[in-house]
Amino acid sequence: QQQVKQSPQSLIVQKGGISIINCAYENTAFDYFPWYQQFPGKGPALLIAIRPDVSEKKEGRFTISFNKSAKQFSLHIMDSQPGDSATYFCAASKSRDDKIIFGKGTRLHILP
């Protein structure tokens, strides 16, 4: 049972464009939704996170939009740069320190 569904599997965006990654979850007990960024040969790094009582959170060029009724959330990367090329994972957990359920990941490539 895939509790967190992520799309697309891969994404190519021109430099300066907007990258959008979408996720959907099933378990309404989830209360914490982090996004992780992973470069080849490295572990995932926490990028930004949101709680379901907030509809949007912005940190620099990265924005999470959250729709609690639809059980969907998305990551927008504004002014995408080649250095943003990485694999992005959406995730969910019942609290910050509980086990994390990850989406399958999106491999993002920003064209220079």
């Binding site: 982090p34 992780y36 040969g41 490295k42 572990g43 995932p44 790094a45 926490l46 996170a49 994972f89 609290s95 910050r96 320190d97 509980d98 086990k99 994390i100 359920i101 990850f102 989406g103 399958k104 990941g105």
Partner: protein, 112 residues
């Protein structure tokens, strides 16, 4: 501040052997988590240790086990290795009071 450190970085074993992976959490963190990142399967939760106790376990067979030491470092043991155990094993740690998880760069385990 030193991050989560894992050893070894790479390991090659044959079927049927046993392996021990090690993790040192960020200083001050008391919880340690283990995840498996296998090709095509994404990141899957394995084990969670907090204050020396196993708090939660993912859907893995009993030959996957671990422990947490008084200094909060942790070991993951895998017995009777199978080909499908080939994966990147990631350790994460978090502090007290509902803090987010921070990952190490993992141990790449290859089973021949």
């Amino acid at each position: 501040e030193a991050g989560v450190t894992q050893s070894p970085t790479h390991l090659i074993k044959t079927r049927g052997q046993q392996v021990t992976l090690r993790c040192s959490p960020i200083s001050g963190h008391t919880s340690v988590y283990w995840y498996q990142q296998a090709l095509g399967l994404g990141l899957q939760f394995l084990l969670w240790y907090d204050e020396g106790e196993e708090r939660n376990r993912g859907n893995f067979p009993p030959r996957f086990s671990g422990r947490q030491f008084p200094n909060y470092s942790s070991e993951l043991n895998v017995n009777a290795l199978e080909l499908e155990d080939s994966a990147l094993y990631l350790c994460a740690s978090s502090g007290v009071s509902n803090q987010p998880q921070h990952f190490g760069d993992g141990t790449r385990l290859s089973i021949l």
